[in-house]
């Protein structure tokens, strides 16, 4: 699927190549095998040895490689072939997905930190001379010289290194909120201004040493925080890169093949399942479909589109399936809309960083406390008012407090990404820790259906091959697990007739025409209609019928997912009661429930019944985790406190769940729950620590017992404690009872 030759198409290449001003091109690649450092280095050397390659850089955590090279000397396909020859398949990533903010941010933070460190050392040495000078009676002019030198060296520190604090504070003020940058910026500005004035006057105290140490220590703390955040983000990016939007392209011989949506070219014929995302702009070749273009136009009502009308990339097919002739394969405009999932996951990250109401309240109190301290000292001893007020401002600043949630959550998301669990809503992870009920869908979630030969029962004397071929003609358009199982069983048998006017009815079945037969495939009541309804077929999993009545019944064998029993047992151990709701008949649901040890099960549930069940659980005060397969349980997943979906391939982009288990294993739920619980503990602990530190230190500062630089050390250390504490999330868990072997195979499969 990843043939390098595809990338010879200049329009495709334009999506992934960034033209640089010096005539070279830059590309970001997803490379799987970056685990072994030796292989990585060898790969790097090999690529570097290619003609025209200027630079190769590697982001191991995100499994990305960047290459800057001259396309005239080595073409893109040649480059990709070289990766493949080295045993490391590389897949180009879209330009808009790989904005390289992380590296830029990191460079910036490093530079600021270093400048602050250099300046702080100098200022400290000058300050030392002043302190000693007081003892040694160095004359006044020397003392003044050192004060001026201190001022001179502090200027780059305040103007360059501390800029991020001022910018952050300005942003907070513009947004009319109080954040942690404001007290910091205020403290730096006040101390620096006072010191400058005193230097100019030639009398009074100067605090250049304090302010420079303060800035340096804070920047060190922020640098460490940034590193930990980037690690988490990189893990998430690696997971997102591993799940490109896929499309089903019809080959010349009529078979469908799965390709990344971005490699579609105009003229390609694409098949879209019901509920699927339109992978490229194009013209509809099916009769009538309904699409949801909410993502693009904000119009939430379903839109009807007829043959010959245009479908826009990124819209979701409500009734399907559809056949699409691609018009603008690889056009920038349409492709940019497709990263819906990626966008959601990234937004989840960005929201974490947003401000927190508690922090705002906290900062307001700090500011009030500072003013009160200053006024108090002005009444008692005006000479100490400034020192004490600044110390209070610095000590009480809730940096550590504000850091707690973002740092811990980012860490948790990163750890989960490592285990193939993608979180699209950070707050859902917080809610997951409090969940006490889990509601599972059956087919496709707890069990995988399988169709045996003997289970195909022709009812009107047709051959098995014949009824299977008819059923396949309908089933292959649907993403329902039963339809997939049917397709999997029937596909090896060769030619299938093409069905016309195929329509999928949610929670019922599929209808379509093959020749002059009006076929229906689905539950007995739907397939047979009221006219031919036969109660004896009511228990059949799936019935195929035409206008004259039933043609065949299909019985499915159900295998529980291999990790289903273990996962449910562990969930119960963790205090989460498990129940199962299925649209299937009672005997089959009961059979699976017995095998998995589920006491609470519900059969014959329509989507509305499942929703009612969920709501009654919630009304009883339960917090409910709903687990489904993502595309067929949307209303249920949307209503649950936390939702999880097993998802892959083409359904991925529109799976509306908070947690996506991308490796198709239920164990991801256990990881997610364990990490959520641990995260809740760590957050509570860090908050207690941060609050305790502030409450403990403020009285000392208010009574003038803490100098500003000491306050800065305390503040940085408390932030550092929070960051280090967050690192604990997912650490013990890694040595837990996880089958490392299985993880490894999952990794290799990804």
């Amino acid at each position: 699927m990843n043939s390098a030759a595809t990338w010879a198409d200049p329009r495709l290449a334009a999506q992934v190549l960034r033209e640089r001003r010096d005539g070279l091109s830059e590309i970001a690649l997803r490379v799987e095998a970056l685990d072994d450092p030796r292989r990585l280095l060898w790969l790097e050397q090999r690529i570097n040895a290619l003609a025209g390659v200027r630079r190769v850089s590697v982001d191991r955590a995100a499994r990305r490689m960047r290459v800057v090279w001259d396309t005239r000397r080595t073409t893109l396909p040649t480059l990709l072939e070289n990766f493949a020859a080295a045993g490391c398949e590389a897949r180009p990533l879209r330009l808009d997905e790989v904005e390289d903010v992380r590296a830029a941010e990191m460079h910036d933070a490093l530079k600021r930190m270093l400048v602050a460190g250099m300046c702080a050392m100098q200022v400290m040495s000058y300050a030392l001379v002043i302190y000693l000078g007081v003892v040694d009676f160095v004359d006044f002019s020397t003392r003044n010289l050192f004060r001026w030198l201190g001022l001179l060296t502090t200027i780059p520190l305040v103007a360059y290194s501390a800029q991020s604090f001022f910018r952050g504070a300005a942003e907070e003020l513009r947004g009319r909120r109080l954040g942690i940058n404001l007290p910091v910026a205020l403290a730096i500005a006040l101390v620096f201004a006072a010191s400058v004035i005193n230097t100019l006057r030639g009398s009074g105290e100067v605090y250049f040493d304090s302010v420079s140490m303060f800035v340096f220590l804070l920047l060190v703390g922020r640098y460490i925080e940034l590193r930990s955040r980037h690690r988490g983000d990189a893990g998430g990016d690696a997971l997102l890169d591993a799940t490109p939007l896929l499309a089903q392209r019809r080959r010349a011989d009529g078979e469908l093949e799965i390709v990344p949506a971005m490699t579609l070219a105009s003229g390609d014929c694409v098949h879209i399942d019901d509920g699927g995302t339109v992978p490229a702009d194009g013209v509809l070749e099916s009769a009538v479909v309904e699409v949801d273009e909410a993502l693009l136009s904000g119009e939430s009502r379903p839109q009807r589109r007829q043959r010959g009308e245009r479908l826009v990339a990124g819209s979701v097919l409500l009734t399907g399936p559809a056949q699409l002739r691609v018009e603008h394969g690889g056009a920038q405009t349409s492709v940019a809309r497709l990263g819906a999932l990626a966008a959601r996951a990234r937004q989840a990250r960005a929201r974490i960083a947003g401000s927190d109401r508690e922090v705002t309240r906290f900062v307001r109190r700090v500011l009030v406390l500072t003013v009160v301290t200053a006024l108090g000292w002005l009444l008692v001893d005006p000479s100490r008012a400034f020192d004490a007020a600044i110390a209070v401002l610095v000590v009480a600043c809730p940096c550590a407090f504000a850091l707690t949630v973002p740092v811990t959550l980012t860490r948790a998301l990163g750890r989960l990404a490592h285990r193939h669990v993608l979180v699209t809503d950070g707050s859902a992870l917080l809610a997951l820790a409090g969940v006490d009920r889990a509601l599972f869908d059956k087919t496709g979630t707890l069990s995988t259906p399988h169709l045996d030969d003997e289970a195909v029962e022709p009812l009107r004397g047709d051959s098995r091959e014949q009824v299977l071929a008819w059923a396949l003609a309908l089933a292959r358009v649907s993403s329902h697990p039963l339809a997939r199982a049917l397709s999997a069983a029937a596909r090896p048998r060769g030619v299938t007739p093409a069905a016309q006017d195929v329509r999928v009815h949610l929670a019922a079945g599929i209808e379509g025409h093959v020749g002059d037969r009006a076929l229906r495939l689905g539950r007995a009541r739907y397939a047979l209609g009221d006219a031919h309804y036969d109660p004896r077929l009511a228990s059949a999993a799936m019935v195929l019928a035409d206008q004259h009545g039933a043609l065949a019944r299909f019985g499915f064998q159900e295998r529980p997912r291999e990790d289903a029993a273990a996962t449910l047992a562990r969930l119960r151990e963790d205090g989460i009661d498990v129940c199962m709701a299925s649209g299937d008949s009672a005997d089959r649901v009961a059979a699976l429930a017995t095998r998995l040890g589920i006491d609470d099960w519900h059969a014959r549930q329509l989507p509305a019944d499942k929703l009612a069940l969920l709501q009654s659980l919630q009304a009883d005060g339960h917090r409910v985790l709903a687990v489904g397969d993502g595309s067929n349980d949307a209303p249920l997943l949307a209503a649950a406190d936390v939702s999880a979906a097993l998802s892959s391939g083409t359904d991925l982009a529109q799976a509306q769940a908070d947690l996506l288990l991308l490796d198709g294993r239920l164990q991801g739920l256990l990881h997610a729950h364990a990490i959520a619980v641990q995260m809740r503990q760590v957050i509570a602990q860090s908050r207690r620590w941060a609050l305790g530190y502030n409450l403990f230190a403020v009285p000392f500062a208010a009574f003038g017992l803490v100098s500003p630089w000491l306050a800065a050390i305390g503040m940085s250390l408390s932030s550092l404690m929070v960051v280090l504490n967050a690192m604990r999330v997912g650490r013990e868990h890694a040595h837990d009872a996880n089958p490392g072997r299985a993880d490894r195979t999952a990794e290799a499969a990804a």
Binding site: W42, R60, M106, V115, R744
Partner: protein
């Protein structure tokens, strides 16, 4: 004390040079990957065959 008037500018110049060097290094990606180069001296001339069953568990 006159030596101070010479030495202080010298220290400032040294700092300036150090900062410039460091900026150059950061801008040339010298700090981007701090893990792999440590393994460089241990590398064989011939790479490990790509097909071997690999993937040691990734470090946390």
């Amino acid at each position: 004390m006159n030596v101070l008037l010479v030495l202080i500018p010298v220290t400032l110049v040294v700092i300036g040079v150090a900062v410039a060097l460091f900026f150059w290094a950061v801008n040339h990606q010298q700090f981007d990957d701090l893990d792999s180069p440590g393994v460089l001296p241990l590398m064989d001339d011939q790479p490990a065959p790509a097909e071997e069953p690999e993937n040691p568990p990734t470090p946390p």
